[in-house]
Structures are given as C-alpha cells and as structure tokens.
C-alpha cells in the first residue's frame, strides 16, 4: 500500500515536472540567448561566454526605449482612466437596483469579447478622419475596451462582498455618500483594486492588434515594435531575445505581486478563488 502510494507520488511529480519544463524552458532559453553573442549563437548550447552586447545594441542603439515608454504611457493612462470611470460604475452595479442594470453590465462585458478586428477596421477609418490615428489619445481610448470591462466586473464583485451595514453605520456617523465611498469603501477594496489594475495593465501592455492597426510610427508600442527584430534581413537572434525579455519583464513582475487575486481577475469575477 505504501509502495503504491510512493509510485503514485513519483508519477505525479514527474508529470508536473514535465509540464513545468514545458512552461518555463522557453523563458529560460530566451534569457539565455539574450546573453549570447552572434558568433556563439550557432555553435554553443548552454555553455558560452555571456556578453551584454545584445543589450547594448538593442537598448542603446535602437529606439527600443521609445517603444517601451510609448507602451508605458498608453497602458498606464488607459488603466487610470478605467479606474476613475470604472470604480464608480462598479459601485453603482453592486449597490443600486435600477432598470436595465444587468443589461448594462453585460453590454460592458461584451465589449471585451467583440472580435478586435471588428472594432479596429471601422475605427481605423474614423481615426484617420478625425486625426486620432497614430496618437496616444487614440490608443488610450481604444484600450478602454480591454481595461474597462475587466475593472468594472472585478471591482463590482469586491463591492458586493462588503456588507451594506458598513455604509449604513458610516452614514449614521454623519458621513455623506461621497465620504462613505472614499473613507470606508475604498480602503476595503484597495487590494482588489490594485490587483485588478495591475492585471488590466498587463492586458493593455500585451495587446497587439490595436497598436498594430491604429498607430504607425509616432506611437509604437513594444509588442508591435518587437516584431521588427525578426523582419530585418540579417536576423540577430540575440537582439530578438533581448527585445522579448525586456518587454515580458514588467508583466511577469506584476503577475508575481497579484497571485492571490489572479483567478478572480482573469475570470472577470466569475470564479472567486
């Protein structure tokens, strides 16, 4: 019986280890290659002299930092706008009963699931006409389709978890509605709000379709710009790896911070892990 259990455990851990290799090795390989010089690229595997020349080439001698900061600007402001407009909306959906409430909530959710190209094709035409093509404002606006539904749906769940009595008690203490919201509720949803914002940031950061079609050379995000490192005639694999590594870094770091709230955010509040 004990032996059977030991074998069981060994098989279990073996399978998990296999999957872990599948999930992590590509990332490890990417970082590894980013330290390889072009000369060592073809004749070495794991043992080589690490060099920073790829990092120098990409970060100092191309516009990589410009792409990086374009991504930062667009994603951060998109999330801020969504927080400012979305948190009150989430509160309204959680606390008030009004006509068409669920319809409104599902309309907002459906924005997230509309095919991106369906939005982009007509928007491309509109943006060209009203001068929003290839601007920060244009991208930040369209990014709302990614960040807003996420924030509203996830934060709504956190508001629903808070007992109404807390609000009533605060009202009895003489707080106005606005003060209750700021001083009693916001501190309670803060962990949820921070993690939902970080996840929204990651989604915005990772988006590819919108910047590919709605911006050109003035505003270029990192996901679109990174593909350039493939397209060049003489492919510098090391530089490709650097571009991928640096652009993946912020998302992975943020993901580490929000482990506890990840399930809830990813499922838009449908699964409360």
């Amino acid at each position: 019986m004990r032996r059977k259990r030991m074998i069981n455990n060994a098989v279990k851990n073996g399978l998990l280890a296999l999957y872990a290799i599948f999930a992590l090795f590509p990332l490890f390989w990417m970082v590894l290659i980013s330290f390889k010089s072009d000369a060592q690229m073809f004749n070495t595997t794991f043992i080589f002299d690490p060099t920073l020349e790829n990092y120098e080439a990409v970060l100092l001698r191309t516009d990589y930092f410009k792409y990086f900061f374009d991504s930062v600007i667009v994603s951060v402001i998109a999330v801020l706008v969504s927080v400012l407009a979305g948190v009150p909306a989430a509160y309204a959906l959680a606390r008030y009963n009004f006509k068409k409430k669920e319809d409104l909530a599902f309309t907002i959710l459906s924005f997230r699931f509309a095919p991106e190209i369906l939005v982009v094709l007509p928007l491309f035409m509109i943006y060209q006409k009203i001068g929003l093509y290839d601007t920060y404002f244009g991208l930040i606006w369209v990014y709302q389709l990614i960040t807003m539904p996420l924030l509203i749906w996830v934060i709504r769940g956190y508001f629903e978890d808070i007992s109404v009595e807390i609000e009533h008690a605060a009202m009895v203490d003489g707080y106005t509605w606005w003060q209750v919201f700021l001083k009693r509720l916001l501190p309670l949803i803060k962990p949820g709000l921070v993690s939902a914002s970080l996840l929204a940031f990651i989604f915005a950061w990772n988006n590819f379709t919108f910047p590919l079609m709605l911006s050109g050379t003035k505003v270029e995000t990192i996901t679109v710009a990174s593909l350039k490192y493939i397209a060049s005639d003489t492919v510098h694999y090391g530089q490709m790896a650097v571009a991928a590594t640096v652009s993946a870094l912020p998302a992975v770091i943020f993901a580490l911070c929000i482990q506890k709230h990840l399930v809830r955010g990813l499922s838009f509040g449908a699964v409360k892990g």
Binding site: N9, K12, N13, L16, Y19, F22, A23, L24, P26, L27, W29, I33, M41, F42, T45, L84, A85, A89, A92, L93, Y96, F98, L104, I108, F111, F113, P115, I117, L118, V119, L121, P122, F124, M125, I126, Q128, Q144, M148, I152, I202, N206, F208, L212, M213, T223, I230, M240, A244, A248, A251, V252, A255, Q259, L262, V263, L266, S267, A270, V271, G273
Partner: protein, 316 residues
C-alpha cells in the same frame, strides 16, 4: 396623476428625489460614454458592408448585398471558416485537457514543489502572445533553436515547424497552449481548492474508487469553473490573431488564414475595406452564438453543483 402629485408634495419623505433615482445612471455615465465608442464602429461596420468603400477612393456607393454574396462565393472564405474552427477546436481541446490534468495533479497535494509551481506556471500567461511567438521562434529555429538539437537525438532532422503546410497548425496550437494553458489550470485549480471536504470523507468511508470520486463528486462541482475556462478560451481562440499574425501572417500559403487574419488581409493588405467587413461580422456571429450556448451550460452546471452539494451534505 394630479392626486399623486399633490400627495407627493404633501409628504416629501415618501418620494424618491429625482437625483437619487438618477444617481446610478449618473455614476455609470462616464464609463459608458468612454466605451460606447465601440457601438459606433459596430453600426458602421454593418452599414459599410453594403457599400463599395475603400481607403483609396474618396467616393463610394451603395452596392447592396454584393460584398456578402461575393464572400459566400469565395472559396477562401470557406477555407478561413474551416481554419478558424480547426484552430479553435485543437487549441481549446488541448488546453482544456492538459489544464484539467495538471490542475488535478496540483490540487490534491500541498508541498513546496506544488506551491512553487502554482506561482511560476502563470508566467507564460503574462507574456504577450506576440512576444510568446518570438520566444517560440527562438526555440524552433533550425539554426539556433534548442528544439532542433533535441529532435536530432531522436533522429529527426530539420523539423519544419511553422514553415510547412503540414506542421504550421501544430506549431501555432503549441504556442497557443504554452500561453493559455496556465489560464485553464489556475481557474480549475480555484474550483478544486474550494471543494467541500465532507462529501469526500463520506465517499472514503463508503470505499469509492478514485475514478468514482472524480466522476460523481469532483467533476460536477468543478464544472462551473470548467465552463468559465472553456468560455474564455473558445471565444479567444475563435478570434486568434496575434499568434498567427506574428508567426506566419497566415502562411505558409493560406494554411493559417483564419477569419481574423483573412479580414485583416482583405481590409489592410488588399485595401478592400468594405469586402473585409462581412468576414468579420460572420466571425462575430459565430463567437456570440458559441458564447450563448456555453453561458447556458455554465448556469445549469452552477445549479447542479450547488444542488449536489446540498444533497451530499444531507446524506452524510
């Protein structure tokens, strides 16, 4: 009416002030105004699909159903539908199967190894699909990629990966799985970890086999989580654009031309804006109908899960 008004004026306290009634709508307004932009392009997409609009010419005219009929006559459209369905089917099946398996393996054991895995397994999910494709190109490249060296051990040389008609779909699904399988894992894992203990304890006393426990206890109770994962994955893989575009732009030939990529090519590369709209509208209908079916199943499974839960509680 007159009576009501008078009555209301008499005791103010019983009527809801206009501002209070409107408050939820007012609070919602900014978020709706910002996102409502999407309804405009959507309405425009339907309208322009009946015109001859291109980006090149300033004038266009109403052409009725021409774009739609041309699309239905075009074999490339039916090919795109077939590719879309195959891609979504394979990606979803593999991710759901593998995700469920890994989640079940992780769920029951609590030690340092599984705790570590739970955190690091989410990393691929955080990498942008376009960037993930670059990473996999570094892996599958035949001159610098590690996978070529690995396959050489087994006597396989120059495996073509995304470059060949026969293996391009496999490569794309592999990348899709790498990125999104963690999503399925952590959703199902959340379901497994929230399972109540008592039904499993009583099953142990009754001497139920592991398979019996899984089929009759675990599965019905984690079904809502499974359906949520399925909903998200199926809808996204039906529309997948980033991975395919970054990998081969739909090639080699038309191997990976799904509806999204076809619409992009028709609209941007060939500049036939109006002709690209019916393609993407068809995709929208497919996605919506699929989502509705799964949402229905999800709602039903939630009822069953909570019902079984109560029944088990009563028995033990």
């Amino acid at each position: 009416m007159a009576f009501n008004k008078k009555d209301a004026a008499k005791n103010d306290l019983n009527t809801v002030p206009w501002l209070t009634k409107a408050r939820p709508y007012l609070i919602m307004a900014p978020s709706l105004l910002i996102t409502i932009g999407i309804l405009v392009p959507f309405a425009m997409a339907i309208y322009y699909s009946f015109t001859s609009y291109t980006f090149k010419l300033p004038t266009f005219k109403f052409v009725g159903l021409k774009n739609w009929l041309n699309m239905f006559k075009d074999p490339a459209f039916w090919h795109a539908i077939w590719v879309t369905i195959r891609y979504a089917f394979f990606a979803t099946i593999v991710e759901m199967g593998l995700g469920l398996g890994i989640a079940l393996l992780l769920g029951n054991t609590e030690n340092k190894f599984t705790k570590f895995l739970r955190v690091v397994l989410t990393f691929p999910l955080m990498v942008a699909p376009a960037i993930a494709t670059i990473i996999w190109q570094l892996m599958t490249n035949n001159s610098v990629g590690i996978l070529e060296k690995f396959l050489n051990i087994f006597g396989v040389y120059n495996f073509p990966w995304a470059a060949s008609h026969a293996t391009a779909m496999f490569t794309a699904v592999l990348i899709d799985t790498w990125v999104y399988c963690p999503f399925v894992i952590i959703l199902i894992l959340a379901g497994i970890q929230s399972l109540p203990k008592s039904p499993f304890e009583s099953a142990k006393i009754d001497g139920g086999s592991a398979w019996f426990n899984f089929r009759n206890l675990t599965l019905p109770m984690i079904k809502p989580c499974i359906y949520i994962a399925l909903l998200f994955r199926l809808m996204a893989s039906l529309q997948e654009f980033s991975i395919i575009f970054a990998l081969t732009k739909g090639g080699p030939g038309d191997t990976l031309m799904n509806l999204s990529v076809t619409a992009y090519n028709t609209g941007f590369a060939f500049q036939k804006f109006a002709a690209s709209l019916p393609i993407i509208l068809v995709l929208w209908v497919i996605v919506n109908l699929t989502a509705k079916q799964i949402v229905k199943k999800w709602q039903y499974s939630q009822k069953v899960a909570s019902g079984r839960d109560a029944a088990e509680g009563g028995k033990s």
